[in-house]
Amino acid sequence: MAKEKERKDDRPVETKTWRAMYRTMVKIRLFETLAGEYFAAGQIPGFIHLSIGQEGSSVGVCSCLRPDDYVATTHRGHGHMIAKGADVKRMAAELFGKATGYCRGKGGSMHIADFSIGILGANGVVAGGLPLIVGAGLSIKLRRTDQVAVVFFGDGAANRGPVHEAMNLASIWKLPVLFVIENNQYASTTPQSYSCAIGDLCQRAAAYNMPGYGVDGNDVLAVRETAARAVAEARAGQGPSLIENKTYRVRGHFEGDPQKYRDAAEVQRWQAENDPLRRFEDFLRRRGVLTAKKIRRIEEEVRAELDAAVAFAKESPFPRPEEALEDLFV
């Protein structure tokens, strides 16, 4: 928690927003925890990637967005969905493969979307969201609205070619796009320090003539501050930014990952010292925005909401087999 103390608490108090952000972080944490449990229990088919420990990034960024802004997310996208305002009931149902899920059971964890709130979809292809978000940015520019378009991607994704094309294109056209790298130190089994020729991914912004910000991704307010600035610039027509939220993947790459590539001690250290949720909680308590009692209430409310979501998912029917033939073409 050391890092928090260094920070001067001179920010104007945004009680309502902060509380909402906190609640969202709790919701993500609990959603992911439950998803892990139901996956382990064999009730969620396929495979799932959890974002526990990365709530600072999703909530920090999405707290700056409007419902009509766009977000493209990743295989590790539950947190972004919830932070953007998705319905956890329909999310849970989708993970369970049910007909009431966001995608009527066709997508699963790796392919959820809610176009009604601007979520253009999770993506099973690493870095797959970047070209799409440039298209969304171009669309905004052509339609002359002041929306912004945000893409989340990982440190591993950052080494794929489409990233280069997307950042260059967004820059020459000054599109309202935020490129948000969630550098959680690993891409599957591969440490970021191995896969990338430079230490700070945000430095690559210079290659595209856009601002690049390296942020403590486990400090949700630091993320929010940076994102707010980038969003404001994007809305004002000043073009794209690159934000690198430095964070840590606490769980395995996927649930069930044997994780031979790292020590358990490393994980524990991050959890103990640098949990974005605990850090924010401490901050809010110190600032008097939340009390232990209020926190408990939030936790209970969120728990109730998620229990209801899981119940909904469990009780929902599977799709009928023939529904597999629907939804291909308009």
Partner: protein
């Protein structure tokens, strides 16, 4: 309303201009579009008429394709120019893992009105990496429609239908046919619905099923065959997916014999799919095997005698038709 003679290129531009006038959401995206109105001059008039709606990109096929997808998902109706169809390889993920799957895997939440315009085909001595006909890859990718026009009128009518379609459409137009003229109806509502083949020549002896440049080989072959007393029916498929199998079946039930003609290489080409379906669904109507005329199974070579040898010729169609008729 009468027909005018237009080149395939002019027919394309006319379709685009009419549709872009009708619907503000349509725009064109690709490399080197504005200076010369497309590298083949195929967008003549559009840069002047619609400034800001035909956009030059850097050389970034992956992002261009993805950009089309993202714009289509957010209220626009993009047309992506792929420069040469050979470079679909550089946007394959965006086309096949994104565009083709997005509507389906998200449970029908959204529509994706995207046209991917791919100039394809050989015969220009452009060698292995600028001469391919790759439509079969996309026919094997659920979620994409695949259109391959032959004559100028088809280009116009099918492009208009493709633009109006709310699904991703791969539109292949043969480079060597851009300057070829054909009659085009003078009617702004002239649209050829996707999934409708056209019987372009009636005949009772053999059905020639074809599309794109293959159509002109069939025309030539049919004239030759007629001199020999064989009346070939030419069915221009126009859309490969969805396929108008009814028209195919009706023709076959009349002629009992089929030859399939396309420029893409033989093995695994669209002809395989069509032959497989015909023999499966019309087995008892077949008096002879369904034959395929296609390019030989090598990359397209550069040197004229080599390229000419690899590509299918009208004589090959004649020979195949003769052989099924004389069985």
């Amino acid at each position: 309303m009468s027909d005018r003679l237009l080149t395939a290129s002019a027919a394309l531009a006319e379709a685009l201009i009419e549709e872009m006038t009708r619907d503000e959401r349509i725009f064109i995206l690709g490399e080197d579009l504005t200076a010369h109105a497309g590298i083949f001059g195929q967008f003549k008039g559009i840069p002047e008429k619609f400034p800001g709606r035909i956009l030059d990109t850097p050389i970034s096929e992956t992002c261009i394709a993805g950009c089309g997808v993202g714009a289509a998902l957010t209220g626009m109706r993009p047309i992506v120019d792929f420069h040469f169809s050979d470079f679909v390889t550089c946007g394959m993920d965006e086309l096949c893992n994104q565009a083709a799957k997005i509507r389906y895997m998200f449970g029908g939440q959204v529509k994706l009105p995207l046209v991917v315009w791919c100039p394809d085909g050989a015969g220009l001595r452009a060698a292995a990496q600028h001469s391919q006909s790759l439509e079969a890859w996309f026919v094997h990718t659920p979620g994409l429609k695949v259109v391959v026009p032959s004559e100028a009128a088809d280009v116009k009518g099918l492009m208009k239908a493709s633009i109006r379609d709310d699904n991703p459409v791969m539109f292949f137009q043969h480079k060597r046919l851009f300057r070829r003229e054909g009659p085009v109806p003078d009617d702004p509502d002239f649209v050829i619905p996707l999934g409708k083949a056209a019987v372009k020549r009636e005949g009772r002896d053999v059905s020639l099923f074809t599309y794109g440049s293959g159509y002109f080989l069939c025309q030539e072959a049919a004239a030759e065959l007629a001199r020999e007393g064989i009346e070939a029916e030419i069915v221009d498929l126009r859309t490969l997916k969805p396929l108008d199998f009814e028209t195919v079946a009706a023709s076959l039930r009349k002629t009992y014999r089929a030859v399939i003609v396309h420029e893409a290489c033989l093995t695994g080409g669209f002809g395989a799919e069509l032959a497989a379906r015909i023999q499966a669904e019309l087995f008892d109507f077949l008096d002879a095997p369904v034959l395929r005329v296609a390019a030989k199974d090598v990359p397209i070579p550069f040197s004229p005698p080599l390229e000419d040898f690899v590509l299918p010729r009208a004589a090959d169609v004649v020979a195949a038709a003769r052989s099924v008729c004389n069985r």
